[in-house]
Amino acid sequence: MKKLLKTNEMLLFLLIVAIALVFGMINPQILTLANFYSLIRSSAIPAIFALSIMLVMCCGGFDMSFAMIGAFSSYVVMFYHTSNGQYETSIFAIFAEAIVIAVVLELFNWVLIDKLNLQPFITTLGTQSLLKGFLLAFISTQYIYTLPNQVAKLGTTYLHTATYEDGIDAQLHVVVIFVVVMYVIMHLILQHTNFGRQIYAVGGDVDAARRAGINVSRVRFLVFVIAGIICGIGGVMHDAVARCSLPLPSDLVGKELNSIAAVVLGMGSQKKARGSVLGTLLGVVLLQFITGNLIMLGIPSYFQQAVSGLLIFAGLIVQMTGSGRKLVRKERKTREA
């Protein structure tokens, strides 16, 4: 029990509860079931993408192009089907096509990062720009508002409906099931399989992992493949929830920081910080809860950017210096001893 209380996930959870209580005192509407449903709806898509970047960060890499890859794969598939009038395409086909495209694009990243040994951050920034330009210059710039029927149906499937006091409905979106399933699978992979342990080993120290007999290149390959699968699913999910497909969805591309910050918040301040599945989920919920409820607290919308920036900034410093300070203290202790 004591150990559980000390974990970073517990800390994050307590933080969310505390903030929720404070917010609830200012505006009781925030603590209603309806608002809870809209929180789930708004954090579902960021949660999917955060999972993909978390996996890449776990193995010591970095990816700035994950949101663009998701948007790219989904838009290309939607554009192909709608411009050919294939509105009856099965949703499984759409998901499969998007996943294939996303995996191919992530493998492009893998070649650059693993085979050519380039700087992950700068390279993936290049991939992002390349994809953005390619999509808009050579494929299409038009917005797609009529999605294939089954995708549109997925976007309007709800599990349950709750009502705000003023009569506005909020629904529990079906996407939440997908998110939960993906998180559970990822948790099992990372914590309970040999492959998952290998990912952490590579992320901790590449050379040590290599000496321990881990095929680093293969681990990274699989990581990028899984990241691609998640991005592909996330892209289609995003379009389904948004009920339209844009080449550059403004809530994905350019907002990578939110996902990365969620991962870092969930990492915790262990000696060697590493991604945690539950922590990432809590990080996403925390960020979405605060930024999403600012308006209900009566804070003008143009404060949002600064407030969310400040939050991320504070979170980063608290989370990451915890580990640094502890390390320094430990070193000092050993030296004195």
């Binding site: 700087q119 920034l125 390349l130 404060f303 920036g309 991320i312």
Partner: protein, 344 residues
Amino acid sequence: MKLDKSIRIFRDKDFVRMLVVTILIFAAMSILRPQLFLKSTNFTSMGYQIPELGFYSLAMMMVMITGGRDLSIVSIGNLSCIVAAYIMHAAVEKGVEGPAVWGYIIGGVIAALLVGIVCGLVNGIVVANFNVPAMLVTMATSSIFMGIGIILTEGKTVSKTPEEFTYFGNHALLGIPYMLWLLVIAIIVTAIILNRTKFGFEIRMVGSNAKASHYTGINVNKVLIKAYLYSGIMCALCGLEILARTDTAKSDYATTYTFQAILCAVLGATNPNGGFAKISCMVLALASLQFLSSGFNMLRLGGYFKEFTWGLLLIVVLSLEFFSQEFKRRRSLRQIAQHHEKAA
């Protein structure tokens, strides 16, 4: 002696390679659109466009030498631009005339520089003293600085500054725009700082190996803070340049410059892992990017095509670097093998 020096610069492989690239791009654009590209008006307009990217690239390069990234450059530039615009706009609003206008202009310039200094210090202090990667810090501060800009302007555009100030953004001295002069001065100062001063030496040492430089007695934190401070000042200068040229300030103006600045710095032989940079290469990279950009406009290829090319260019340049090193490594291995065979 002098001849010897000028020959030495052509022995520098990075410089020669970049020079060839620049000349190739220039030649290609001249052949494709000779009536438009080779006109003097084209060169004047390029002279007005270069400074923005130039200042941002200098800011990015300085931080990249230390092995970090500054993703907040555009936000700092826009924030200082907004602050300066408010102060100078007050002069227009109150109808101030004569020498008093200059008071407002100088006040605006000083305020903008102060904003740059404060933002740079925030970045530098956090990066130096806390155990957070520079990239994440500057990403978060970028969001904060942009947010402050949005709060100040409420998301609107600030415009109308005194004509005395915008004069500098839209006129030329001796055929070269005032702001290009400013950029040239900034480049020369940066080159001197990097190659001739103690700080320049320290910053390169910190970039190549922070731990080793700590043990040699360099105050790593101080060097890092200074680098971010310098970057902040460059961004503030860029904000002033934007204000002088466009007479408007906006919190989300030209956010793509972050990527272009990284591209320009990497093309300019800056090592992404830190430690090395060549100002001469960066100037050539700046020129070649501008040639490409103007050329694409003349070929009627849109902004999206440019973005595609920037991305491709960055990946190709980085990969070429890898392949040339790999080639060198294999050749030396082969030489060693041959040597052993002979000895045997």
